[in-house]
C-alpha cells in the first residue's frame, strides 16, 4: 500500500501519464467525480491557506477504475500524512461499490494521475470529499449491475453483489465478476443524477474498525517519504537562510564553499545555495559561506507582541449577535471581564519539509512533502515560468502536516535549484530551517466581557477575538444578549505578525476554545455552580448536551463548585461540526509550578464514523498533541529571530508526561460524517486551565501554562 504509484523508489523515473497508467492497470469502468466549489464553501478562511482560490474547482476531482483483474484503483488528490485516508477512503469505496477493502489500491496526491484537489486540510476529507467519493462508488456499482443484467440476461432487480461478484439471486451458480464486466470495455460517465448510497442499516464495511493499511510499510522502513527518494546524478542542497525575519543579505562570499570538491554554488535573487552529491558535505559547505546581513527592523518579541496585536487598528467584523448588549449589561448583577492570550505555536511535524525536483527544459517533476500538491504545482509552474500542466507534483508519504505543509517553499526551492544546476536536486530542511520557516499558529488576544444575572445565568456575552480567526468562535451556549467580533481574521494583513503564520490543526479553534471555556468556567465558579451543571443549564443544543452528559457519566463525575481542590477540569466545544467534551485531572506542584496531567477523558460525537479505529487514533493523537500547546510549546523570538529552533528548546509532549487517556465516540450514524481529525485538539488549553483553577484557585490567562507563568501567578496571588 502506497499513497503514490507502486515502487516509488525503484521506478522513480518510470512515470506513467494518466492514459498510460490506465492502460497499464487495464481497461475498465471509469467514473468521474465532480466536486463543486460550493462543497467547501462553509469552511472558514483559515481552512484555505493557499494564496489563491482554485481556478479549476469544477474540474474532475477524483476517479476510480476497475481493472480486468477486479482490482479497484482509486485516484485522489488527497494525501496521507498520518491522518488515515489511505484506510478510510477505501473503506467508503468498498462499502458503496460492494468490493473487498483489500481489492482497493490508492493513488494519492499525484497531479498527473489524480484530478484536481484543493488540498488536504480542515477535516474535510471525510465529510466533504467522502460524500462525493461514496456517490461515485454507488454510481459505479449501478453501472456494473446494468452490465451484469445484460450479461446474465436477468433484470437488475434480480441481482445481488458481494465482494465484486454479481450473482443471480434465483440461480446462485450464475455469476460474473466486476473484473469480467469491466474487462474489454471502457465506459466513462459524469455523475449527473445523485445516486443513492447505502444507509447505515445496510453497512458492512463502514463503521467497522479497520487497522491502518500502511502500517506494514511503515514498520519495515519500506514507506518512502520525499527525503528518501533518490535519482541518478542528484544533488543535495543546503540553502543560506537569514538569521532573522526581516533581515536582508548585504554581502555573501561563497568562494570557500565553492573550493570544496564537488560543490556547486547557486546564487540567484533571493536564493543562495550550495549543493553536493552528499548531504553532509553540502552542510559543511554552507558553514563556509560568509554572509553579512542587515538586521531586521522588527522590534517585536514574545512579550511585547500582545500589545502590538491589540493596538492594530483594523476593521472589526461582527460574526454573530443577538438580543441587546445594553439590556444584558443592565441585567448583570455581577460582571466578569477578562483577556486571554495564546502564544505562537509551531507545527513541528517529525518530517521536515522535503522535496526532490527534476526539471528539464519544458517539464518539471517534483516529489514533495505537501498537504497541497496542486497548490505546489501552481507555485512551481509560476516560478519556473512553465505552463501548469508541464509540472507534475507527486506526494509520497508525508511525515505529519498539521497545516504546516500547506505552503510549498521547499518544493519551489528544489525546482529552482534543479533548473539552475541541470540536475535533480533534493531539498530537505534542517530542523532549524523548519522552525525558522514555519507558518506558526498565530498569537492571539481574546477579550470577553460578560455578566451574571441575579439568578446566576449569563446575562450578556461580548466577545472580541484578535488574530485567532472566526472558526469555532461561536459561544455555543444559550445567552440572550451576545455579540462576537472578529478582528484581523486568522492571519491578519501582512506585517501584523513578524513572520509567517498559517493554519495549525483546527485553525484558531484552540485559542477560541481556551478563552471561551476558561471564561465560562470562571462564571460557573462565580455562580457557585458545578461547571458541567452550569453549562447544561446554559445551553439548548441537543448534540452539545449529549456530549456533556456522556462525559459526566463516563467519568462518574461528582458535582462540586470550583475550586474544589480536586484538580478536575471540564471543557467542551464544537469544531468541523463535531462536538467534543473532555474532563481532565491534574496535580499541581506549587513549588515548581509544574502541572502533571493524570487522566483525560474525551467524548466526541462526529456523526457517521467511517473507521472507528482510525477515529480513535486521531482523537488520542489530538489529545496528546494538544498537551504541548497547553503546557510547554511556544515560540520565543526577538527582533525577527526565532529563538526556539530545535527540540532542545521547543518541548513537545514526552511519553512520561502523558496522562491516562480515555476516548468515547458517541454513536450517531444518522448524522452525516463530520470532521474527525481536528476537534479533539481544541479543548486542552481550557481543560488544563480549568483543572489548575480547580486545584489551586488560580486562573491562568495565557497558554501554554508554563512553570514560569504558573509560579508568577501563584506569587501574585500570594501577595494579593
Amino acid at each position: 500500500m502506497s499513497p503514490t504509484h507502486a515502487g516509488a523508489s525503484a521506478s522513480i523515473m518510470d512515470l506513467p501519464s494518466r492514459r498510460e497508467f490506465l492502460r497499464r492497470v487495464g481497461s475498465g469502468l471509469v467514473v468521474w467525480v465532480v466536486l463543486r466549489r460550493t462543497a467547501g464553501a462553509q469552511v472558514s478562511e483559515a481552512a484555505h491557506p493557499t494564496r489563491f482560490i482554485p481556478k479549476a474547482a469544477d474540474d474532475f476531482n477524483a476517479f476510480l477504475s476497475i481493472g480486468s483483474d477486479g482490482r479497484v484503483t482509486c485516484f485522489t488528490g488527497k494525501i496521507e500524512m498520518g491522518q488515515g485516508p489511505v484506510t478510510s477512503l477505501p473503506q467508503m469505496l468498498a462499502e458503496d461499490l460492494d468490493v473487498s477493502v483489500d481489492a482497493v489500491d490508492m493513488v494519492m496526491g499525484d497531479t498527473e494521475l489524480c484530478p484536481f484537489d484543493a488540498g488536504t486540510w480542515g477535516s474535510m476529507t471525510t465529510p466533504v470529499f467522502g460524500k462525493i467519493w461514496r456517490a461515485a462508488a454507488a454510481e459505479a456499482r449501478g453501472v456494473l449491475l446494468e452490465l451484469a443484467a445484460d450479461a446474465l440476461g436477468v433484470p437488475v432487480s434480480q441481482l445481488a453483489v458481494r465482494d465484486g461478484v454479481v450473482s443471480d439471486t434465483r440461480d446462485a451458480s450464475r455469476k460474473i465478476t466486476y473484473g469480467q464486466l469491466a474487462g474489454g470495455k471502457r465506459i466513462e460517465r459524469r455523475l449527473t443524477v445523485k445516486p443513492s448510497v447505502k444507509s447505515p442499516g445496510q453497512f458492512r464495511v463502514i463503521g467497522k474498525p479497520l487497522l491502518r493499511r500502511d502500517s506494514r510499510d511503515k514498520v519495515t522502513g519500506r514507506a518512502l517519504y520525499s527525503g528518501d527518494l533518490r535519482l541518478p546524478g542528484m544533488l543535495y542542497a543546503r540553502i543560506l537562510r537569514n538569521p532573522a525575519h526581516g533581515a536582508s543579505l548585504r554581502t555573501v562570499d561563497t568562494s570557500a564553499a565553492a573550493a570544496i570538491d564537488g560543490v556547486v554554488v547557486v546564487q540567484e535573487p533571493g536564493l543562495v545555495a550550495v549543493l553536493h552529491p552528499l548531504p553532509d558535505v553540502a552542510d559543511d559547505a554552507l558553514s563556509k559561506v560568509r554572509a553579512q546581513f542587515d538586521p531586521s527592523p522588527s522590534k517585536l518579541d514574545d512579550r511585547n507582541i500582545y500589545e502590538h496585536l491589540e493596538k492594530q487598528d483594523l476593521e472589526a467584523r461582527v460574526v454573530s449577535h443577538g438580543g441587546s448588549l445594553e439590556a444584558g449589561r443592565a441585567q448583570a448583577a455581577r460582571r466578569y471581564d477578562q483577556k486571554y492570550l495564546g502564544s505562537y505555536v509551531a507545527h513541528a511535524a517529525m518530517e521536515t519539509h522535503a522535496a526532490l525536483a527534476s526539471v528539464q527544459q519544458d517539464k518539471a517533476t517534483v516529489w514533495a512533502s505537501t498537504q497541497n500538491p496542486f497548490g505546489a504545482r501552481e507555485e512551481i509552474a509560476g516560478v519556473l515560468g512553465l505552463p501548469i500542466p508541464s509540472v507534475r507534483v507527486i506526494t509520497p508519504f508525508v511525515g505529519g502536516g498539521f497545516g504546516g505543509k500547506s505552503f510549498n517553499l521547499q518544493a519551489v526551492e528544489a525546482a529552482r535549484l534543479s533548473r539552475a544546476t541541470g540536475r535533480p536536486v533534493q531539498v530537505m530542511w534542517t530542523r532549524e530551517e523548519e522552525f525558522f520557516n514555519d507558518t506558526f499558529r498565530p498569537a492571539s488576544v481574546i477579550s470577553i466581557q460578560s455578566g451574571l444575572d441575579s439568578a446566576g445565568r449569563i446575562a450578556f456575552w461580548d466577545y472580541e477575538v484578535r488574530f485567532a480567526g472566526d472558526r469555532a468562535v461561536a459561544h455555543l451556549y444559550d445567552i440572550p444578549n451576545h455579540r462576537t467580533t472578529a478582528i484581523g481574521g486568522f492571519q491578519g494583513p501582512p506585517g501584523v505578525h513578524p513572520f509567517g503564520v498559517g493554519a495549525w490543526r483546527a485553525p484558531g479553534s484552540s485559542n477560541n476554545a481556551f478563552a471561551r471555556e476558561s471564561h465560562v468556567d470562571q462564571l460557573a465558579s462565580m455562580a457557585g455552580v458545578d461547571p458541567i451543571e452550569f453549562r447544561l443549564r446554559q445551553q439548548n443544543d441537543t448534540r452539545l448536551e449529549r456530549v456533556l452528559r456522556a462525559a459526566a457519566e463516563h467519568w462518574a463525575w461528582t458535582p462540586a463548585k470550583a475550586p474544589s481542590g480536586r484538580g478536575l477540569g471540564f471543557a467542551c466545544g464544537s469544531d468541523a461540526d463535531a462536538y467534543v467534551a473532555a474532563i481532565a485531572q491534574v496535580e499541581v506542584d506549587a513549588k515548581e509550578g509544574r502541572v502533571a496531567v493524570k487522566r483525560v477523558l474525551l467524548v466526541q460525537e462526529m456523526g457517521l464514523v467511517i473507521n472507528p479505529a482510525g477515529a480513535r487514533i486521531q482523537i488520542e493523537g489530538g489529545i496528546t498533541q494538544s498537551l504541548g500547546y497547553a503546557l510547554s510549546e511556544e515560540i520565543h523570538f526577538k527582533d525577527g529571530a526565532i529563538q526556539d529552533l530545535n527540540f532542545d528548546r521547543y518541548r513537545l509532549p514526552h511519553f512520561s508526561e502523558l496522562p491516562r487517556i480515555e476516548t468515547v465516540i458517541l454513536d450517531a450514524p444518522d448524522l452525516s460524517a463530520k470532521g474527525g481529525g481536528e476537534p479533539s485538539v481544541i479543548l486542552m488549553g481550557a481543560l488544563i486551565a480549568n483543572a489548575v483553577y480547580d486545584a489551586v484557585g488560580i486562573r491562568m490567562l495565557q497558554i501554554p501554562i508554563t512553570p514560569a507563568r504558573l509560579k508568577a501567578a501563584m506569587a501574585a496571588k500570594a501577595t494579593a
Binding site: 519495515t220 522502513g221 514526552h654
Partner: protein, 160 residues
C-alpha cells in the same frame, strides 16, 4: 582523508572508502541508500535516526561512521527476517501504534534495545525507556501498549 570502514549492515558486509568523521546517518541514507533511519533534528533529541549498533540503540545523527568499524549495524530494514516481522513490528501493526510513521523506525529500534536490557518491563519502565523519542502525531499510548505486548510475545518464545 578517506579510510576504509568495514562493518555489517543488516547482516551483509559493507566495506567502503569514506571520510571517517562523516555522520553515520548520512552515510547510511545517502551513500548506502538505507533510508529507514530518518532525520528529525540532527542533535539527538528526537530519536528518529535510531539504529542498532551491536544491538544497542544509537542515534545515528550524532556518531561518526568510524564508530561502527567492525560492528553489526541494524536499521529498521534489517529487523524483518525471511518475510516475517519482528514481534515489535507485529505489535506496532496490531496496535495501530503509528500515524505518519516517520518516528516509527526509531521507536521500534529504541524499544528493541529496551527489551534487550529489560525483557519483562513494567509500563513505567517502557515509558521511561521511550521518553527521549518524540512523536508528533500522538501515538504514544499505543506505542507503550505495543512494546509491552511485544515483550510478552518475545518471552513466550517467539522470534527474538
Amino acid at each position: 582523508m578517506p579510510e576504509t570502514i568495514a562493518f555489517r549492515l543488516n547482516g551483509k558486509p559493507v566495506k567502503m572508502s569514506v571520510a571517517p568523521d562523516r555522520t553515520l546517518l548520512w552515510v547510511l541514507r545517502a551513500d548506502l541508500g538505507v533510508t529507514g533511519p530518518k532525520y528529525g533534528c540532527g542533535i539527538a533529541q528526537c530519536g528518529s535516526c535510531t539504529v542498532l549498533v551491536d544491538g544497542r540503540a544509537v542515534r545515528s545523527c550524532s556518531v561518526d561512521v568510524k564508530s561502527v568499524q567492525g560492528s553489526e549495524v541494524t536499521t529498521i530494514e534489517g529487523l524483518e527476517r525471511e518475510g516475517k516481522l519482528h514481534p515489535l513490528q507485529e505489535a506496532f501493526v496490531a496496535h495501530d501504534a503509528l500515524q505518519c510513521g516517520f518516528c516509527t523506525p526509531g521507536m521500534i529500534l529504541t524499544a528493541y534495545d529496551l527489551l534487550r536490557k529489560r525483557p519483562n518491563p513494567t509500563r513505567e519502565e517502557v515509558v521511561a525507556g521511550m521518553d527521549d523519542n518524540l512523536c508528533r502525531c500522538g501515538a504514544h499510548t499505543r506505542i507503550v501498549d505495543a512494546v509491552l505486548e511485544a515483550a510478552a510475545a518475545m518471552r513466550g518464545g517467539l522470534a527474538p
